[in-house]
Symmetry: C2
């Protein structure tokens, strides 16, 4: 490479220019292909975007009728333009955003129009010389005050667009009023055309494949819970994989290979992500920066009427509280993630001792989160998650005991620290999972989720717990058929890992 670049410099500008030109068609072809791929991906990621684009096109074409048909044109004249303008700026992706902008625009226009007419009459009283001064001053003061109000968080969040339109309309009415006498006629025309434009947007937005911000928020929160669950279910396998890969023969307490811990009790297939499936482990990263999206979705959702499974006053704020807890948990995962694939060598005996509890904690909190996600998705009570929460809390307590003995037996105490840190972070995650579960319970109450009878009674769950923490050590029975293969995707979406198999439930 170095020789090439050295010879490149010698031939001078001309040759370089020529080679650049020669490469141009190829480069631009590559560029075009890249852009096309990019565009295709944007559409594939969310096909509703394509529908939205077509809806905007339709709304604009409809409103163009106002210009086209003579009766409309005679009625509104050049003001018909405001209908077109309204459609372009008001039509947003979600119904909530469209409604928010439309209502903001409508009310702001009305209010500013009325105020503008008032300012106009007031300035008329001040005589020919005073008129421009009064008008200029009123524009200056109102524009400055309104612009400043846009910095107030509450106003910015909900009425930002309304304030812009307020300034706009007031200035136009007040100043153009200075020339045009039929100012009330004009204001009336503008308001009617804006209402026509806005209504067109809202009707098309709601009637043709609507995109509800509330539903999006609901799904986003459920998805984020699932992303956490994905990481936690895969973490055990990923963190302790060196033991399996390495030359050390890994045997669990019961004498069975470690791999057996990764069993899905229902269908005998693997319940955790395969080792190579790392991308699903990294999904949680998007949660770290999703606050802005959640906030704006919640904000739009408040404008939306009842739709589908959501009533008008659905507790959207509770979703934000839940989302904050989820993000808190994601920060912990971020700390945990640093320990996967770290080069630090941990004494295998120690790792082997704590891995049962660590894997249980991670897997059970993952399952609890998955159940909570499922509960939100189906809008049924989250009671199915409770046994898992109990299990991981118990595993956390067991871990403390195990750690004590393991630390006493171990000689390389320094090497043990990273593994102990992982254990400690897992304990924090268990606490966080509990908080999330509480928050989902509260959401279920507020949003009147359907209640379901838990299939597992508390007593039984307690029994299951015993089977969970030291499962193979105590229940090393021959019925357990173990195959470890496949990945997370092999687990059917609706599968309930809580259901006992063949009367025997092994919940690791």
């Amino acid at each position: 490479m170095e020789i090439e670049s050295a010879s490149d410099k010698k031939p001078g500008l001309l040759v370089r220019g020529w080679s650049w030109l020669k490469a141009l068609p190829e480069k631009s072809k590559a560029k075009v292909i890249e852009v096309a791929k990019n565009v295709r991906k944007v559409g594939q990621d969310d096909p509703r975007r394509i529908v939205h684009a077509l809806k905007v096109g339709l709304a604009l074409s409809v409103v163009s009728l106002i210009y086209y048909y003579k009766p409309f044109y005679d009625g509104f004249g050049i003001s018909g333009m405001w209908a077109v303008l309204t459609v372009v700026v008001v039509f947003e992706f979600s119904v909530g955003a469209t409604l928010s902008k439309g209502l903001n625009r409508g009310f702001a226009t009305f209010l500013a129009g009325a105020l503008g007419v008032g300012a106009h009459y007031l300035s008329n009283l001040c005589g020919d010389k005073g008129e421009p001064i009064v008008l200029g001053l009123s524009v200056f003061l109102l524009a400055a005050a309104s612009t400043f109000s846009r910095f107030i968080p509450g106003v910015k969040q909900r009425y930002d667009y309304g304030v812009v339109i307020f300034i706009l309309t007031f200035s136009l009415v007040a100043v153009s009023g200075y020339r045009v006498d039929e100012i009330i006629e004009l204001a009336h025309q503008r308001l009617s055309t804006i209402v026509i434009g806005g209504l067109t947007c809202v009707i098309i937005s709601i009637c043709i494949m609507p995109v509800w911000a509330g539903e999006d928020l609901h799904n986003l929160v459920a998805q984020n819970l699932e992303k956490l669950a994905c990481f936690l279910e895969g973490f055990g396998g990923e963190y302790f994989k060196d033991l399996e890969d390495g030359e050390i023969v890994v045997v669990s307490k019961s004498g069975k290979p470690l791999a057996e811990y990764f069993r899905n009790p229902e269908d005998g297939e693997a319940a955790v992500v395969s080792k190579s499936d790392k991308s699903s482990l990294q999904k949680y990263k998007s949660i770290l920066t999703s606050k802005t999206t959640e906030d704006s979705l919640a904000n739009f959702a408040r404008w939306e009427p009842g739709h589908g499974r959501f009533r008008f006053r659905h507790p959207w704020k509770q979703y934000l509280k839940l989302a904050a807890l989820i993000r808190q948990c994601a920060y912990l995962l971020e700390a945990l993630n640093g320990y996967i694939n770290s080069d630090i060598q941990i004494p295998p005996e120690f790792q082997r001792k704590i891995q049962d509890e660590c894997i249980t904690m991670s897997l059970e909190s993952g399952k609890a989160l998955k159940e909570l996600s499922e509960s939100i998705k189906t809008m049924t009570g989250p009671s199915l998650a409770d046994p898992h929460v109990e299990n991981c809390k118990n595993a956390a307590m067991d871990l403390k005991t195990t750690l004590k003995t393991a630390l006493l037996e171990n000689s390389d105490l320094l090497g043990v620290i990273p593994a102990a840190t992982v254990a400690s972070l897992l304990i924090d995650i268990v606490v966080c999972t509990e908080k999330i579960a509480e928050s989902v319970h509260e959401l279920a109450k507020l949003a009147h989720f359907k209640t379901v009878e838990p299939t597992v009674t508390p007593e039984k769950s307690q029994l299951l717990h015993r089977g969970t923490v030291n499962p193979l050590a105590e229940t090393d029975s021959p019925e357990v058929v173990i195959t470890v293969s496949g990945s997370m995707e092999a687990l059917p979406e609706g599968a309930n890992p809580q259901a006992p198999v063949n009367g025997k439930h092994i919940d690791v």
Copy 2:
């Protein structure tokens, strides 16, 4: 309380309504006061907001002249309105945002106007019946395609507003062209008035107390570094405070009280935050969610011309890379923060053993970050931070040794885990600090920061390091005057903690 609410229910609606009414004036007064306080805070937080509001008022008043003076009105007629419209929607807080919107609006209007005229001519060729169909179809297709393009990240980031204006202008020109014959005249008028409005905004925005997005980004990154530093400098005192508060007499290795470790070498006053000053410890939380702000500032900064200390093509992207590392560090602080004030009791002997290194690591990485922040603020080379980075790296290595002995000597191994986790997190933070330092070095190179001769030579820094890790144990000399009082604020902004005092540098 319960008795009261019970008696509340009995008297029925009337009494409740009356008490509600009676409380109304007080309530609304409280509300008004609250809003006023809120508004005042918005202004106090950033007084440039008030200036911005006045600037917008001024720009609008200036543009109103277009309507007021007859010559202007005769020239532009009703199109003068577009100048007002442009000012309202284009004038943004920062110069970059205003320029971005103005240029987007100008170019989009020009392009869409030209295309609109083209579509108009094309439709004319299709006869009376074909004309509306061709126009409607072209509006539909262009609007749908443009709306879809707004979902492409690159377009959304830089040209979103331009696309909106493109759709708007194209629709207006194509459809209104169907009625008005003097379409080119109209397009010309609209473009001129938009240019007048846009230029007014840009000139006022740049000439009267300009707000530069680039400078804001620069300062934000420097501030965020300082927030990290604040936490790290205060963390040691906060985490190990129980030892000082409790009944245990805390004595460092050298026999001096622990408090002496918190000394600012320069002026003999305390260099770390006081225990009660917790709010400054929590400042870093804002970094966790600052990504959106940084991204938009970097985006606007690219539109800005050279200003002050920044050239036109200042490496704004490097700031984003640096900001990502800073956020990574903030996630670690978030994990660390959970251990402050946690109820877990840690064996004091163990805590005492590791605290020297932990405090050194935390303090030195804090100092390094503060130096890096200072380097960015003053735009000088970040070499002053290097010794601190070295110091904390060395302290991290020493900590490993100390941990080994401390763990061997300790009996309550389980209780030790949280403290060991804190130590481990601090080691991660040291690694992160090193990465941040590298990134600042790269930024300094790219942005041509002034180079400064490091006042401390590497050999000397090595010496300092020795004095750092076990400082009082080896250098327990009488010159060291120690007072622990005051808080972070007592440290002068520009103070350079690296400068030796009285020929003796104690760098803890």
